[in-house]
Symmetry: C2
Amino acid sequence: MTALPTEQPVATATDEERLARAYLLRVGEPPAPALVAFVGERGPVEAAARVRSGDCPDKVRRETAARREVDLAEQDLETAARTQARLVVPEDHEWPAWPLLSLAVASGRGVENVAAPLGLWVRGGANLAKAADRAVAVVGARLATNYGEHNSAEFAHGLATRGVPVFSGAALGIDGAAHRGALGAGGVTVAVLGCAVDIGYPAGHVDLLKRIADNGGAVVSEYAPGTPPARHRFLVRNRLIAGLTDGTVVIEAGIRSGARNTATTAGALGKVVMALPGPVQSANSAGCHALIRDCKATLVTSVDEVIDTVGRFGPAPEPENPRPRRPTDVLAPEALRVYEALVPRAGRSADQVATESGVPVDRVRALLPELEIDGFAVRGDTGWRRIVRSAPK
Amino acid sequence: MTALPTEQPVATATDEERLARAYLLRVGEPPAPALVAFVGERGPVEAAARVRSGDCPDKVRRETAARREVDLAEQDLETAARTQARLVVPEDHEWPAWPLLSLAVASGRGVENVAAPLGLWVRGGANLAKAADRAVAVVGARLATNYGEHNSAEFAHGLATRGVPVFSGAALGIDGAAHRGALGAGGVTVAVLGCAVDIGYPAGHVDLLKRIADNGGAVVSEYAPGTPPARHRFLVRNRLIAGLTDGTVVIEAGIRSGARNTATTAGALGKVVMALPGPVQSANSAGCHALIRDCKATLVTSVDEVIDTVGRFGPAPEPENPRPRRPTDVLAPEALRVYEALVPRAGRSADQVATESGVPVDRVRALLPELEIDGFAVRGDTGWRRIVRSAPK
């Protein structure tokens, strides 16, 4: 068993447990709900032995038959260590047990394809449990617009500035902009992959993934070292992005997209789903608009609204009390009617004002002096005149 | 009493009733809830006589004291006739009784400032009851962006094309674009004003108002001929835009704007409220976004969605079933995993595919021939290969 990188928190899993889970992670293509349940019942060590020998329930055998003889656990742990990665398992202090509970709960409620992971390969200095304790996912389309990439970076930057770790999927477009935005703020960002953490995918993000791992973040995957990306793996991976965070913000998404899938999964897990609006003609915002319109996502336009919507992070800072835009905003309806019946350059009698405004003349007589005190009217030789005041600064 | 323009439907109100309501409309500054209730109880003729003599309940006297001696009813009806306008009253066939019932109901429920109008001055050929039978209001900010004006015109054009009358407030910006869009489609559009129908306001829209009246639409107001615009009158007018329509679409609105006021009133009247999203940085969309975020408006991005949301107009045309974007979209999850474990340029055995995909080898053996039949795979000398198919046209 390879030693863990020294700066990592003390692991509490035994070598035997970690080896067993490394084996099981390679054997069962995630999500493997029967296998996960079996490991939950028997513990990883006994479950691994039974899977290896075929002495397990039919459903588990079915999920593991194709690869149960492929035991590369020791080799995988060594490969990981060589690439500065480690295997975090549920027996470790670092396991994000609380956020991932949502997967087990949803799975138990019958939501499909959301079984919890058997372990997570992690590259980078972040403590996974800590990063996932109060995190937000920022996700979206690969073929993003400038509008989408700009806002992804802005939102991630703002979240990171407020100490909220930003999770995403390391894809081109919105995901990459989110990771970069969080890094730019010196914040923690976590990339959850649909391939192994030692695969440089997407090729254009090899440097970005290294920067994430080297700057207090983490690159995370449940796929054994060497596992290539595949389309179904991205969809399966999406449940981890949703599961590891408190809420997901969809920045841009086509009407049919992986990001919408993450949002749907987040909703099924009981997490907060948010989406950014955009121009109605933009196909890249159509998925966001559909989520909002169908009440599957809350519209957000700022980081404060994200924090406010997720809720758990404490209240958003009170917006400054918007100043009245016009001086007359302070006037009660009747006083406003009297004021509007005055003109600046000609005097009017109380009777004229009453007729024009429809306010009874006795009230007009009471209101005019009040308006004068407040600087809205003045009494002159020819009657009452309006004083036009500039807006407060 | 002046004769009505001949092309109008037969009025059922008596001259006495119409004169009484013309008097009451000038005497009570709308909304005058006590006066409206009093007219409901006593009928317009008795109510007018009692208001004139002061023999009415305190609240009614209060609402009418300032102008009860101003009896210009005959003169107002004559002025109206000279400007091709008429007074439509609840006793007329043309009265939009059903949509306006929402005002009486909300007023009875305690919603403030939404009393029904005592009558409506109308310029233009539209039958008011018919126009308001299935109508949508398209409203928004005066200081609109190109984005807002473009969409206002597009939405109004689309609604008019589907035979839905478009109501708005004739203001510069969004309102004007809505009226023009509906006119461009040869549809019915109705402008509800915060001043009398014979006042050319706003000055830049004098021609537009004439085009509306001359092209089967209507210019509508509860203010007696000659009444100038005033800020409180625009707010009071907003209840009529909301009340006369089934739903209101806010195209652009600042965080604090008259359009948001119309939307709030429409909601209080139990009408459908919709809002268009826009770029998050646009201050002109901030009011729309706030309405959507606070669940006070449904997000809409197209005319079909407006029709669908308002509901009463029959179902929106079924969207064409979106074609699968990729040929493999037709594959079940297991078949997709098998397909993705194949490569185009090298043969693989069923065992290799099982290991790579995690699908049991017996299922792999069953699925490969199915994939071959569907054109996704081919069996060669070196094993199974993937066939890459282009997307369906």
